[in-house]
Point group: C2
Chain length 209, copies 2
């Protein structure tokens, strides 16, 4: 056997990372001790942990890098949307996107990730920049691409697409942000019709006059 997809060492490393991810997301960096990570990973020796990660910082950075780079999986579902051919289809596509983003931003895991990134940004500035330069930028570019397609078919007026994208994304944010400071138990679920209302209002600005 030469081609082992996962050696024992790799398995332990991933157990550690998974345990650390859970605790870091729940409690933050400082409040999570290495001993607690040990217990959560069902590992019984510190030596084992420090064989895989020389530092607490390194472990944290690894966890966060994995989280941000594996995160934008929803973008695949959105980039394959068919090009809009008239106003109703554009509205439909935008609504689809808005609902998807709102659903993503309402997930407890996503909220916990954002909260932790913001919380530890002073300690790990690079990781915060990495996150905010990948995830939200993806959303903006998806929306602007859709609008550009619509513009090329003369469906909508010639407006600043970036501004429109920020209005939509920001409007969705205004529903999700309060959940950043709420306990996980009592999330105020922003109903999908809020996304529809935002899109409807934006359509008024997009239609030529």
């Amino acid at each position: 056997m030469e081609q082992h997809t996962s050696t024992r060492a790799q398995q332990t490393r991933e157990r550690i990372r998974a345990a650390a991810r859970r605790l870091f997301l729940r409690q933050g960096y400082l409040a999570t001790s290495m001993d607690a990570i040990l217990a959560e990973a069902s590992i019984s020796s510190k030596e084992t942990l420090y064989r895989h990660y020389t530092n607490k910082e390194e472990l944290f950075a690894d966890v966060l890098r994995h989280l941000t780079l594996q995160r934008p999986d929803f973008s695949e579902r959105l980039t394959t949307l068919p090009a809009p051919h008239d106003l109703p289809s554009l509205r439909h596509a935008l609504t689809q996107i808005a609902r998807e983003i709102l659903a993503l931003m309402s997930q407890p895991d996503y909220l916990a990730l954002v909260r932790m990134i913001i919380a530890e940004a002073p300690r790990f500035p690079d990781l915060g920049a990495l996150f905010f330069e990948t995830v939200p930028l993806t959303g903006i570019s998806i929306i602007t691409a859709l609008l550009r397609q619509a513009r090329e078919q003369d469906i909508i007026a010639d407006v600043d697409f970036d501004v429109v994208a920020r209005l939509l994304l920001g409007g969705l944010l205004s529903y999700a942000i309060p959940n950043l400071v709420s306990a996980e138990k009592q999330l105020r679920a922003a109903p999908p019709d809020r996304a529809d209302a935002l899109v409807d209002m934006l359509m008024r600005a997009l239609t030529p006059r």
Copy 2:
């Protein structure tokens, strides 16, 4: 002398709170030690500190409560705006508001406050709720009030004002949020013309057709 506006004890208490505010905003709750607060406040005995605040938690809560309740001072400047009498004056008023809010959200102190509230929300859920139920709600109500005035004079169409307010506020957010994870030194100053662009786009949605 009976009517002392500030006794010696009150002065010390405020010195402590000011020092704690600086350190908490800069480093967060866990990373700020009581000894560090002592030094920052130029106080030389722990006994003095614990005479004013029985807990670290109590001190933190006091700092945050003061910060959130003293914060919305900009609202006074905005609620006294003259009622709009036509479309240009409405655009002007909205631009004014948008610029003011953008400027507020770009202040390092404000960013640090928001970051800290988000970071410590799991530990202090009440304080987070207090902040997000006062400050942003104030912004929304100011905008909706302005729009209602404009609607009563038939300047704008009959649309959902809350949605419009969230679009504007959220659009501004999209420029400010990345600064939550940037070092204080390299804040990407969102230029005021971004606020103008957002308002211009919204005006397209507001005008009757």
